[in-house]
Amino acid sequence: MLGTLSTPELSSLLALSPSIDQIGTLERIARIQARSIKGAAKLQGLRMALSMIDLTTLEGKDTPAKVRQLCYKAQHLHDQAPDLPTVAAVCVYPTMVGVAKKALGASGIKVASVSTAFPSGQAPFEVKKLDTLYALDNGADEIDMVISRGRFLAGDYQFVYDEIAAIKALCGVARLKVIFETGELDSLDQVRKISDLAIAAGADFIKTSTGKIQPAATFPVVHTMLGAIKDHFDKTGQMIGMKPAGGISSSKLALQHLLMVKEVLGEAWLTNEWYRFGASSLANDLLMQYQKQLTGKYQSAAYFSID
């Protein structure tokens, strides 16, 4: 069914997207946030969160050296703490994919590349394809594409659908994450609609944001996207991954997000195969809390490397 929906078919699919009640969503989230994640559950959660990070650098001033440094951190989060997991992936611009691929070697850590004229997506479709192919040719394991928000908001769903389906076709074995930039979408109803559309078009993961626009991975937005993943799974048995990105910088938030995944989707999603955090500063806070859980003491931030 990949990329094969006609306009009427797509319309009837999107007509099935349920409406999302903002207030009810906030209440549900409040219930999750009121939970107390302590002791062994906290330790396990922190390890899980560390293993789900897409360690990210997406700046104009990125250098090969910085990317190599990040790749080292990805494999050695905090060598002072024994038996830590590694992160899931390193996420970079297409021009840095080759550098990252080499630096990560056989570590098993994936290289994710943003593409399709990240972050705005404001480029002709041919350019977006070339962008993606460049990343894939350099060895990207995962493609984080952005959607054309302008076309989506204009109601041109077929355009957005076709674009995602075409990039998916290029990806081959690489997994495709589709970034919605929810901070530019108007409502949770829109978030739900784009989630259903992207999943139908072949997204392996759906992702909230580029990290360049605020608000980014808010709880209501992530909750709405998880709902779309759950409904798709209930209907088809196919799992889709979730990647909140932007704004989740503390352990507390990360643990609450994981609990939301557990309660909304179930424990099958609690692995980095199906869940990722797009983050740069989260890792150190997780490490700090992890050490606190182990030793009972907070260590100075100076003990954790900034990469």
């Binding site: 349920p18 409406s19 999302i20 009640d21 207030i23 709902g227 609990l259 557990k262 609690l270 692995t271």
Partner: protein
């Protein structure tokens, strides 16, 4: 990283800051007085059946003393104060309750079995807010009823239930005092402790002696209060059966009566509803406070086209409902309030099975001590089934489907009760269309079990009469001169 289970570990609220006395006396005329009855009864923690305290059992003579104290306080002190002065006392009480919120929450959970999350986040904050709200009305009664002259009724006898002990006390005491009445309160026998703590707060607030009196005991204590000739008003929240007795007892007397009684409220989900939020609404409507809620949405009506999906989602949602120790901050459903109530619920579970309904309960391990009931869903329920007609007052939901609006309105209204209803739809016109046809005192749209001091609450039909809360709640404690 491979899949593994990730389970929360118990996170118990501390009970260290709560002082429970071994024995409580009656609170009459601003003092703790040993009961003339010389008898006491035990209150237990329903979560583990452990003894908490001995409570004085007031007899008719004790009630008489309390009414005399309330009458004297009314004549000599309270009726002489300006509204602004009464308001000051109420504000002071509200602030003291807020300061002691944590202690009150733990006490409520220990004595009644409700999850600490609810007593901490809902019961106690709402109770405080009721006092703040009515404190504000105390000097504005003229503005509440413009152009009318009014005065207090006198002595109000108030009987509160065990499901929201302190909150129901606040619903009754705050408006009564704001309007200038004095009070004799009889809390439910299984949950007296927060009312007795409230008596300490009244002392600490310097409330004049006799303005609030608390007589603990069983139904006969309440009956003595209802029968007392010097009581001007009876406000009761509890079962419809007892409400009817009270109504009969007050016929031919000058007592004014308001009754908040039982319910079998309909929660209606239309096919265009925001479905995940509606499922959460079901959880909030029937599993809030173990289903010990008079306005619980115990009858669920789902439009046929989405019924299967709603049921599947509901069953999945129930897997992340934690049932167990009420002091655990992660507990969603705590202990059933008493052995007697657990027996009632279990009786209805058997009735449901005998009636041929299909039962669903999620997998969960209940504590071995204490009174617990799994959240329960009955499907294939007939409108004439007893489980769909009678109030169970537990975490038990019946589900019926419907096709047309006409059908669901008829089924929803086909009940002797009429307390509340819920309507779930993304279509605004349907909200207004349905809510205007439902015979219920409260109709929630796209939410359920929302309470606010500014919002009146009360029932149609056998769910009672009179309104508590809001400006309406004042008129239950005033008489008007025109």
């Amino acid at each position: 990283m491979s899949n593994s289970t990730w389970n929360l570990v118990p996170s118990l609220e501390s009970v260290a800051q709560v002082q429970i006395k071994p024995q409580y006396e009656l609170f009459i005329d601003g003092k703790w007085q040993a009961p003339l009855s010389a008898s006491y009864f035990a209150t237990v923690n329903p979560a583990d059946e452990k003894h908490l305290a001995q409570i004085a059992q007031a007899n008719a003579a004790d009630v008489d003393l309390a009414v005399k104290a309330a009458r004297a306080a009314y004549d000599n002190v309270w009726s002489q104060l300006s509204g602004a002065e009464r308001g000051k006392y109420l504000f002071r009480i509200a602030r003291l309750m807020q300061e002691k919120a944590r202690e009150l929450a733990v006490l409520e959970t220990l004595d009644g079995g409700k999850p600490i999350r609810e007593s901490r986040d809902i019961d106690i904050p709402l109770a405080c807010n009721h006092f703040f709200y009515y404190a504000g009305w105390a000097d504005k009664l003229q503005e509440a009823f413009p152009g009318q002259q009014m005065e207090a009724l006198g002595v109000a006898g108030q009987i509160t239930p065990w499901n929201f002990p302190l909150l129901m006390l606040a619903w009754k005491v705050a408006p009564a005092l704001a309007c200038g009445n004095t009070v004799v309160l009889k809390p439910a026998e299984t949950t007296s402790l927060t009312a007795l703590k409230f008596a300490e707060i009244c002392q600490e607030a310097g409330l004049p002696a006799g303005v609030v009196n608390i007589v603990t005991g069983y139904g006969d204590t309440g009956a003595a209060l209802v029968a007392h000739p010097n009581v001007d008003k009876i406000a009761f929240t509890g079962s419809t059966a007892v409400g009817k007795q009270i109504q009969k007892a007050c016929i031919g007397t000058s007592k004014k009566v308001t009754l908040e009684l039982g319910g079998k409220s309909a929660n209606i989900i239309l096919e265009d509803a925001p479905i995940d939020q509606a499922v959460e609404g079901i959880i909030n409507s029937i599993f809030f406070n173990q289903g010990h809620v008079c306005c619980a949405g115990s009858r669920l009506f789902v439009q046929e086209s989405i019924a299967e999906q709603v049921l599947d989602k509901l069953k999945f949602r129930l897997q992340s409902i934690y049932v167990g120790n009420p002091l655990d901050k992660n507990t969603d459903i705590g202990a059933i309030n008493s052995k007697k109530q657990l027996e009632t619920i279990e009786k209805y579970l058997s009735i449901g099975l005998a009636e041929g309904a299909e039962i669903y309960q999620p997998e969960c391990t209940l504590p071995s001590q204490g009174f617990y009931c799994k959240p329960t869903i009955f499907t294939d329920v007939a409108q004439s089934a007893r489980i769909a007609q009678e109030e169970i007052f537990g975490p038990v939901l019946t589900i019926q489907t419907f096709r047309t609006m006409e059908e669901v309105v008829q089924k929803a209204n086909n009940s002797p009760y009429g307390l509340a209803a819920g309507v779930w739809t993304a279509n605004g016109a349907r909200i207004f269309g349905l809510s205007s046809q439902l015979q219920a005192g409260v109709v929630w749209a796209n939410t359920y079990n929302k309470f606010d001091p500014a919002s009146p609450f009360g029932g149609y039909k056998e769910s009672g009469f009179g309104r508590e809360g809001g400006r309406h709640g004042l008129s239950a404690y005033l008489q008007f001169k025109n």
